[in-house]
Symmetry: D3
Subunit: 337 residues, 6 copies
Amino acid sequence: MKVVTFGEIMLRLSPASLERLVQAKALEVVYGGGEANVAVSLANYGHEAYFVTKLPKHEIGESALNELRRYGVNTSYIARGGERLGIYYLETGASLRPSKVIYDRSHSAISEAKPQDFDFKKIFKGASWFHWSGITPALSPQVAKILEAACIEAKAQGLKISVDLNYRKKLWSPEEAQKVMIPLMKYVDVCIGNEEDAEKVLGFKSGSNIEHGELNVEGYKNSFLAMRKQFGFKVIATTLRQSHSATHNTWSALILADDFYQSRKYEINPIVDRVGGGDSFSGGLIHGLLTTDYKNALEFAVAASALKHTISGDFNHASEEEVLALCGGDTSGRVQR
Amino acid sequence: MKVVTFGEIMLRLSPASLERLVQAKALEVVYGGGEANVAVSLANYGHEAYFVTKLPKHEIGESALNELRRYGVNTSYIARGGERLGIYYLETGASLRPSKVIYDRSHSAISEAKPQDFDFKKIFKGASWFHWSGITPALSPQVAKILEAACIEAKAQGLKISVDLNYRKKLWSPEEAQKVMIPLMKYVDVCIGNEEDAEKVLGFKSGSNIEHGELNVEGYKNSFLAMRKQFGFKVIATTLRQSHSATHNTWSALILADDFYQSRKYEINPIVDRVGGGDSFSGGLIHGLLTTDYKNALEFAVAASALKHTISGDFNHASEEEVLALCGGDTSGRVQR
Amino acid sequence: MKVVTFGEIMLRLSPASLERLVQAKALEVVYGGGEANVAVSLANYGHEAYFVTKLPKHEIGESALNELRRYGVNTSYIARGGERLGIYYLETGASLRPSKVIYDRSHSAISEAKPQDFDFKKIFKGASWFHWSGITPALSPQVAKILEAACIEAKAQGLKISVDLNYRKKLWSPEEAQKVMIPLMKYVDVCIGNEEDAEKVLGFKSGSNIEHGELNVEGYKNSFLAMRKQFGFKVIATTLRQSHSATHNTWSALILADDFYQSRKYEINPIVDRVGGGDSFSGGLIHGLLTTDYKNALEFAVAASALKHTISGDFNHASEEEVLALCGGDTSGRVQR
Amino acid sequence: MKVVTFGEIMLRLSPASLERLVQAKALEVVYGGGEANVAVSLANYGHEAYFVTKLPKHEIGESALNELRRYGVNTSYIARGGERLGIYYLETGASLRPSKVIYDRSHSAISEAKPQDFDFKKIFKGASWFHWSGITPALSPQVAKILEAACIEAKAQGLKISVDLNYRKKLWSPEEAQKVMIPLMKYVDVCIGNEEDAEKVLGFKSGSNIEHGELNVEGYKNSFLAMRKQFGFKVIATTLRQSHSATHNTWSALILADDFYQSRKYEINPIVDRVGGGDSFSGGLIHGLLTTDYKNALEFAVAASALKHTISGDFNHASEEEVLALCGGDTSGRVQR
Amino acid sequence: MKVVTFGEIMLRLSPASLERLVQAKALEVVYGGGEANVAVSLANYGHEAYFVTKLPKHEIGESALNELRRYGVNTSYIARGGERLGIYYLETGASLRPSKVIYDRSHSAISEAKPQDFDFKKIFKGASWFHWSGITPALSPQVAKILEAACIEAKAQGLKISVDLNYRKKLWSPEEAQKVMIPLMKYVDVCIGNEEDAEKVLGFKSGSNIEHGELNVEGYKNSFLAMRKQFGFKVIATTLRQSHSATHNTWSALILADDFYQSRKYEINPIVDRVGGGDSFSGGLIHGLLTTDYKNALEFAVAASALKHTISGDFNHASEEEVLALCGGDTSGRVQR
Amino acid sequence: MKVVTFGEIMLRLSPASLERLVQAKALEVVYGGGEANVAVSLANYGHEAYFVTKLPKHEIGESALNELRRYGVNTSYIARGGERLGIYYLETGASLRPSKVIYDRSHSAISEAKPQDFDFKKIFKGASWFHWSGITPALSPQVAKILEAACIEAKAQGLKISVDLNYRKKLWSPEEAQKVMIPLMKYVDVCIGNEEDAEKVLGFKSGSNIEHGELNVEGYKNSFLAMRKQFGFKVIATTLRQSHSATHNTWSALILADDFYQSRKYEINPIVDRVGGGDSFSGGLIHGLLTTDYKNALEFAVAASALKHTISGDFNHASEEEVLALCGGDTSGRVQR
């Protein structure tokens, strides 16, 4: 299936192993960003995945593009030009020490992109699905407008649209977010995000009273039902992370589609790299919804994203076969010869 | 004591730290193989350990030989010539993601070795023990024949013979294995392997009904007694691995000699490198059987192999003193100054 | 506040990641030593921290000095000259395999320093605190004399003095230690160390009968009261380490000041680098005693040193803000964006 | 323009910097092979470059494919399957010490490919050029047959065909080479190779008596004229390497097309990596012949390949703009800001 | 002597060894910038060197500051705050392939600094010299104003002022440069730069007609005399680089002070890192002018900067003693034991 | 042939590539020392080479021993015990910047060895040659005595003895050297060293007036004749190094045996690592004198040591075949496939 994602890819710079930034003499290069990560997941599962963005013409922009190409993402519709590639510095935590992200993403090529950089009529031809996250419209009012036009075109061509709400407080305030995001929700079929995200990004309040970090499944169900009522989403899903330490998390997910369903839980210990965990869930969920029923889709998505936590970098280098093996219940980690 | 092992050593190529193979820009070089690993263990415990194989004449063959020499293995009887050194690619897993091995070992120098490459009469002179694994005869019918001749010579010179059954499905089918292996068992004094191995490699069925991964000690005992009856082994031993994840295993072992005995259990978390874990058990067991009683031998072997899981590479770089400290019960990991 | 520490800094050489020393082809360079580590902690918390020692004039001595400067320690009173920089080789353990330290510190510049190398009258001008450990007087009788003179000068200028008892069996015997250390205790306001240390270094016996590794809080309290009585310390504190493995420790601390107080406990798993853990406790405690009450001081110190276990190298690269966040109870390790 | 190349890509393993193979603890991973290298050059110059081969289905095969994709080569027609990826070990020389290559390429997937693995009718649709080297038919008689069928199809569809004669003595003898290669020459428009190659691969003898390494331009001209007469090539070109040491070469080239022409000379000192130098010449020449006259084509090709010697790996990571700047005469190496 | 420099320090990111940016998987971290580099040189020669700039409060800003501190630069007057640290990507060339710099420095903290960030009255107290380059006022009109105020204060306190003209076409046009720079020249005692720089930055035309890259010493002398006449500089100096390739340069310098003088020439082959070469000349010249006569100052400066070309990173890690040894004529490179 | 060498092996620590020591964050580990290096060369040429020394019992001592074993040196007679392994820090120079060595070798195990550590009667059994250098007796008076006893035993068993005069000013003064060395010369058959060495170590003055660095061959001949007359050496040889820069040397050698002979000259550019260059000459010369005539021996030795300059580390990893290829005149550095 042809799937299109639209957003920002950044240069990620992180010290080797578990060094702190103030100790680093070299920084490892990874390229990543919400929608790019989703595109890589989908390419790994055999889809024709397109990532759309704008990248500067120099070698750093070229390298970001090359990395996408390398893992099978179609980059034909990436515009070239603009000032710079956004950067984020990542310091990976361990045990009691949290990971830390420093953003240096202002003035990136994509944040200053113009409508004429993208021909969505052409881009969406033959496509089945369009995915974006709450980060994309937060990049700049300009990009928010481009995104809205893309949603309209996608709907016109009959694509399914999914959004990962993903609130980023460094990019905008809840008020700014809501002003932009609420009008976009009418194009969305599949919403990924929980009550907390929905509160900040959509101004949503369910009254179901879920404490942060608590696994009140009934509360989530009520909250999802209310979100569906208010915004008309066909599917709502979210991951549930219990964070015991920077190294050890419990991971599961919930979905509301035909009915409400809770996935199995995974103990992830140690975590190798949790950045991109949410995106790998979105990638897995889209693949699942395109190919199977909503329960299996959720199980695929949560297994895919559990695996992601054991893989370094933003991208989820896991095949459909590997995800299915984990879904199938083999968590023993025995050597595959 | 002089101990001789015979088999294949391969070039192992693995990405740094926990990268996946598709992410790697460099591969770490390790040399290893069942019988070579056993020889290194024995050299570490102070024995005169010989490893016998055939290696190509070029620098890659030389490097494998050098690595053995470096860690005190006598390489005087390694034949030189042939096409290539076998390779295996290893991707180390973590948590829910299993380690993965890709073999590229066909057409190796040892698999195409000829009888005249080895003078076992000379090789075994003054030796006490001969060890090999089920991988050696699986390399090629030629090597199986060389091995049988070696066993006959070893018996003639009065050596003890141990085998690690080690079934490798990429090398042969159970039928092929049994045809070659069963006739070789009459030379074997010490058999390392459990009912599962015995079933595939020796066609053995105890009827004791042990579920995979379960610690049914009584069942194992019955199974060992039946194996002893059928094949005449003087000693039968096996490790028991409970695999909670790629990072966390519980490790213990069983032996049938004068009587049946179960070792203490070790929690290994995190595992640094579990490849060679079984070989380090064999190395520890041979050392133990050469120097102490069967119960202490088993405790030494299981502690040695528990330690191996915390050491990178195929070889067990642990001294007798370090193994004994662990046997003695200090699992606290306190800094040794 | 101006704080002065006096002692030895060494070149630490350790294999990358979890390799054993016999496998290493390169060694990572870290500089560290008890009192230097304390000075770095204090510089991180915003104090004017001076480290006093003697370093050889060549590039290796220069590099040790540079590393201190880099992290904000004032190095103006470091004497230059002498033969060599002391070295310690560190092999980091994992799970059942303990870390291992090999010292090569004899004949270092500081151990052969002379009284005229340091002008403590000038060094202590305007300072509030002087810290040293039991390692400093163990370096040589000469250094013990220099230290005593420094203590006298510090008291004359009204500084608080703290000591970390820190017994090192490779440097001196209990008898030698007691002969030097007991007379120095009269200058000490704050003593860091437990009954065990006190027994070896001070010949102290409380009769409170604490088993090694046991958390007999009442016993500790009695022991601390007895130490206070015998030596006149105003404050006594110690850390409590429960070592489950080289990778997993439980960490807490005790203090006797106005009253007796036990800190909260931290599970540290995995440990990244536990060398310098005790020094980061001392650094945190001095900061705490300089800025808050004894209970908060202890909580700050134990949180600081828990964090240190997750940071590579001897130095504790953690800010006051990060330590306070952990004190405040957030142990979830969630990504800080 | 669409250009197709067909051949083998191998995993290249080489020690870091200038280490010898017997010193290596890690090997750097590069993927390369004559025709793959040409395809990358052409992709860099903006062509639609296809590389056709067969790669095993596992991660190592995937990684070779990914590396091609990463640099813009179209991999849609690469067949998947077979046993292994060919390997070559490269030790880079310096000064008086030559570089050394150890091949481990037998039994590769491409050498055991079958006609049905490739649909050249489809592959050549819309293409302008087909390039291969003398290595391809040397891989196996099977591959030689596939190649002949491809040549016939290419001619039928009106493509230009170029060959780089490239004799490899480890793959076949001159007799074997000539038996296969001579009948293929009738399909060839552009022949890259000198009298020496032509003698071994085509059994050609001009009688013009050129001493090895000598720059007898008149002799080359006569030799080229004779080759044209005998084989009907429209264009003949060759590079001229004067090898002063492993680090310092003089590099130029000759062409016979409308007329005979000698390029300018480049001093290359130091050489960073000369593997792939000839392939980058072929890539540059094809680009030149597709876009400009034969003299400019030769100057582009020789400048491109001079640049390649300063770039690590098999691939020539140089843009058309960079090659043109060097062609234009700027050899000063001044920093480009 | 106390010397103050004022300008920008950037994070420099470059691939290991001689890789191209599109090949890099990790980037080496160096911090550097014209005036910071000069400050490090002066600290190495024993001066009290201050570097003044503004750095963001996060860990990347902290790391830049730490690197200056590490090498002995006083950082007390560095303001903290602002958005980001400027970045430049550096690809090191070899032989025919030039080095390449990609700037990503817009919106840096220093470029958006405000007058109140710096108290130059306090900063210059007790100082002898103030150095800046043409890059500083090019950062923003704001910074140009701060610089002018600093020059006025420096003159008021009797400091010598030196400028390195250093035209950067990515930062401003000649017209913009001249508008800002010409009025600043009245404060300058020592001007570093040649006719070319003077033309772009100062609109200067001598009519002496020097061809680029040519060593027309008489022409330079006339040009310097004219510059002195027009701008009133007490000393004018420039380096002369003959660039044979990215790896091999000839390096010398000229000065006009009491009289005109040409330094000895150095062959630099290979160049390890030529970035910062000009800054190390400025640092050497300031040191020379502060401590000796103008001829020896020039010889010191040119030897210092020749050495810099053999040292990686922006900073010149060479001691006064090492520079003097080279000045003294020992270019043999014999091992110093 | 069995050859024995006796002396010190040290841990060499050097920054990666061309960094300076003050920049290093990791140090590469190499083991080397004059006589150890000679032993490795001889093992590479197929001799049974023994290196005799004393090494501490810990892992660092073990690693030095392992490295010798790895490259085929017999380590059976290495004594174990003592305090520490000597260290030298090496900073590799480039172009105008010389390499720099910092020694930290005092108090090493070998320097404090005792006569009973070595049983030279047994060690020399069946040996043909004994080699040592002027460094060995400089280690301590104790070692000088052990060496003298070894020389007496070697002569008694009929071995040839060679010495490399090798004056080290950090270890002793000329006066001390002469007092120890002159009496040892009566045991020496082959003396390696030039007039300069001979002057410092042996107090020799030929009056032939050779300027340092000059290639006055007639002068060398006269000087050698005088040395032969005074000390009775059968063979005298020396290398001649013309040091154009740290990167570029011209290398040749002279010998006086049956007659006087000068070798061919080699241009070495770039030098990869010149440490051990002299030792590789000694190793080549001993091999040559054991297997061929003195002229061919000299050519072999000078070619071997020219090659060494292109190989990193102290050891000369070059085979007899490779040395002979260079002797045979192939200096073109063409790739060996």
